[in-house]
């Protein structure tokens, strides 16, 4: 049996009295795009820095390709990183920045120059190779940082919120660049981000962290449809969360009304369940469904052809509905309008606490 490329085994990291990472167990497989996601202070960056050797774990073991990394200096690991601040060397030009890793490995000048240039070309910025890095645009600098990390042809690339400084359009373009690169190279990417859209758009698997612990590991779809707990459901954001007590008929009495889920639940328990925003239907007249909520439209938000509608139901419950613009034709959408929201019992997902 071969071990996954990276194994975190009972890793604990303490800064003084503060436990930044608690008993972390995590495998990263060869060739996968793994995103570590969570709010700031959740331990995601510390986890990445431990993999790069910039922090030593207080307890536990980290193995890369079967070899323990404990006590291995950062420069002895082959775990190049793309930094949030990019950390380009301001006194070197673009090509010299890319050459840095090769130079440190003792490669001779001519070969070094050729390889650096090759990578700049590959990332589409060959023409800027002799430019001062401070004179490049955000996107160009980003590409220099990527080329610098990849030029040594590593088996794994670490990325620490690399797109957080870019504007929205550029983020989407760079996401495409990154996923394409990862597929072509076939190497492992470990990507730290607090942005759900970045993680969901690129990653094969997403690890959601909270307060130094893993809340859930899964494909973006798993995490979206079946969040493991309330924290994940809230963090993912595109979910509606309902809570209430299970009544004698097995339905749940929530503030928005009595709702049904497709699971048998013990009578009297207090439970929460989620319904993804894109699984809620809207109609003008009351439909013949079991789960119907009458709600007033508050506002709407467009992203491309997708619309997110925000409703308020009785008891002040907020409900989000996501739909294709086209699918809403014929439905009057003025704020204050009373509409009927419905969903299938099978669309619900009961949360574990």
């Amino acid at each position: 049996m071969t071990e996954p490329l990276v194994v975190f085994e009972n890793v604990v990291k303490r800064f003084g009295n503060f436990e930044a990472v608690k008993q972390l167990n995590l495998n990263v497989h060869e060739g996968e795009f793994l995103a570590l996601m969570g709010p700031s202070g959740c331990g995601k960056t510390t986890t990445l820095r431990m993999l790069a050797g910039l922090e030593e774990p207080s307890e536990g073991d980290i193995r890369l390709a079967g070899k323990s990394l404990v006590g291995v200096k950062p420069h002895e690991r082959d775990t190049p990183m793309v930094w949030q601040s990019l950390a380009l060397f301001p006194f070197l030009n673009a090509r010299e920045n890319v050459e840095f890793g090769l130079k440190m490995r003792g490669m001779d000048g001519v070969e070094r120059k050729r390889k650096a240039f090759e990578w700049l070309e590959r990332l589409g910025i060959g023409e800027f190779s002799e430019r001062d890095v401070n004179s490049l645009s955000g996107g160009q600098r980003q590409r220099v940082a990527l080329a610098r990390a990849l030029v040594t042809e590593p088996g794994i690339l670490l990325l620490d919120e690399p797109l957080s400084a870019l504007d929205a359009n550029l983020v989407i373009r760079m996401q495409a660049v990154l996923t394409k690169l990862q597929r072509e190279l076939g190497i492992t990417f470990v990507y730290v981000t607090h942005s759900q859209s970045e993680a969901f758009a690129m990653a094969d698997r997403v690890v959601i962290m909270s307060k130094g612990e893993i809340s859930q590991i899964g494909t973006p779809r798993d995490i979206y449809r079946t969040p493991a707990n309330r924290f994940v459901a809230e963090f993912v954001g595109r979910n509606n969360i309902f809570s209430g007590r299970v009544n004698k008929r097995g339905a749940i009495d929530t503030e928005a009304g009595t709702l049904h889920v497709d699971r048998k639940l013990p009578v009297g328990d207090f439970v929460s369940f989620v319904v993804a925003a894109d699984l809620v239907a809207i109609s003008l007249s009351k439909p013949k469904e079991r789960n119907v909520i009458a709600a007033h439209l508050i506002s709407e938000e467009f992203v491309g052809s997708m619309v997110t509608l925000f409703f308020e139901a009785t008891g002040g419950t907020e409900i989000k509905v996501q739909a294709q613009e086209r699918a809403l034709e014929g439905i009057l959408r003025t704020p204050g309008q009373l509409l009927y929201l419905s969903f299938n019992a099978s669309s619900s997902h009961v949360l574990k606490y």
């Binding site: 910039l54 420069h75 990183m81 950390a87 840095f100 040594t152």
Partner: protein
């Protein structure tokens, strides 16, 4: 606060007067150095190179200049090296006794020079090291370290804290990262520190006077002439010293300010 025009102008004139007071002796010394009168007054006498000729035909002045330059260069190099190590330590590390470390690094300018001179004289005499050029270099290095450290520390503050880790991450050992990242990044401040410390050493007279013995520096010569009589040679020597130190300080400031005005965009 809105001022009326009178107050505004009064403040302006007042500030101008303060600057004139500060720069009057510097300018006067320049003017007097070309003035034929032994006791300059207004109206000024005629233009002359006499005092420069006298000063520069004096072999004592020349040997003092040699000592001064040797001392300034050596203590600038030593102090900048030590100041760099202290600034880097402060920038990167936290350790037991760090406060004491910083106090030790920054304390020397608060001790009056005469006292430090006396203490150094006594201390070096037990090692039989007083009265030598090297004694001046040692003492000047002590005085210059805080300046070098402050200038370099300021530059390190502007360095992305991930820059060094980025170098390690790309395969550089700590020493390689020092050579290929930290030193190039701080280079302007290193040059600035060299200039500034050379200027400090070049002008220092009290400690040099106590510990120099027969190896007088230029300021010590000035001090001795000053004790004797009013001799406009001082203006000539002083003007040259001014030009040297001001050039060093201006180079240093341009290097430091140029970088502050144009910080690297991250």
């Amino acid at each position: 606060m809105k001022d009326d025009i009178t107050t505004r102008w009064l403040l302006r004139i007042y500030t101008a007067v303060i600057f004139i007071f500060i720069f009057a002796p510097i300018l006067a010394s320049f003017v007097f150095s070309f003035n034929s009168d032994r006791f300059p007054t207004i109206p000024l006498g005629s233009f002359t190179w006499h005092w420069y000729v006298t000063a520069f035909s004096d072999s004592d002045v020349w040997s003092a200049a040699e000592v001064s330059i040797l001392v300034a260069l050596s203590s600038a190099l030593l102090a900048t090296a030590i100041g760099f190590s202290a600034a880097y330590t402060d920038h990167r590390y936290d350790f037991f006794g760090k406060k004491a470390f910083l106090v030790l690094a920054l304390l020397p300018p608060t001790i009056p020079l005469v006292i430090f001179a006396l203490a150094t004289l006594g201390w070096l005499s037990i090692f039989g090291a007083s009265g030598k050029v090297v004694s001046i270099i040692i003492a000047h290095t002590v005085l210059c370290v805080p300046f070098a450290m402050a200038v370099i520390r300021l530059r390190l503050n502007q360095m992305d804290p991930n820059l060094e880790p980025a170098a390690w991450n790309l395969g550089a050992t700590e020493w390689m990262a020092m050579k290929s990242v930290v030193v190039p990044f701080t280079l302007p401040s290193i040059v600035a520190a060299l200039c500034l410390t050379a200027a400090v050493s070049f002008d220092e007279f009290a400690v040099a006077w106590f510990v120099s013995g027969l190896n007088k520096t230029v300021p010590v010569i000035i001090l001795e002439i000053l004790t004797g009589n009013i001799d406009p040679q001082i203006n000539a020597i002083g003007s040259v010293v001014f030009v040297v130190s001001i050039s060093l300080v201006v180079i240093a400031q341009v290097l430091v300010m140029g970088r502050i005005k144009k910080p690297e965009t991250v």
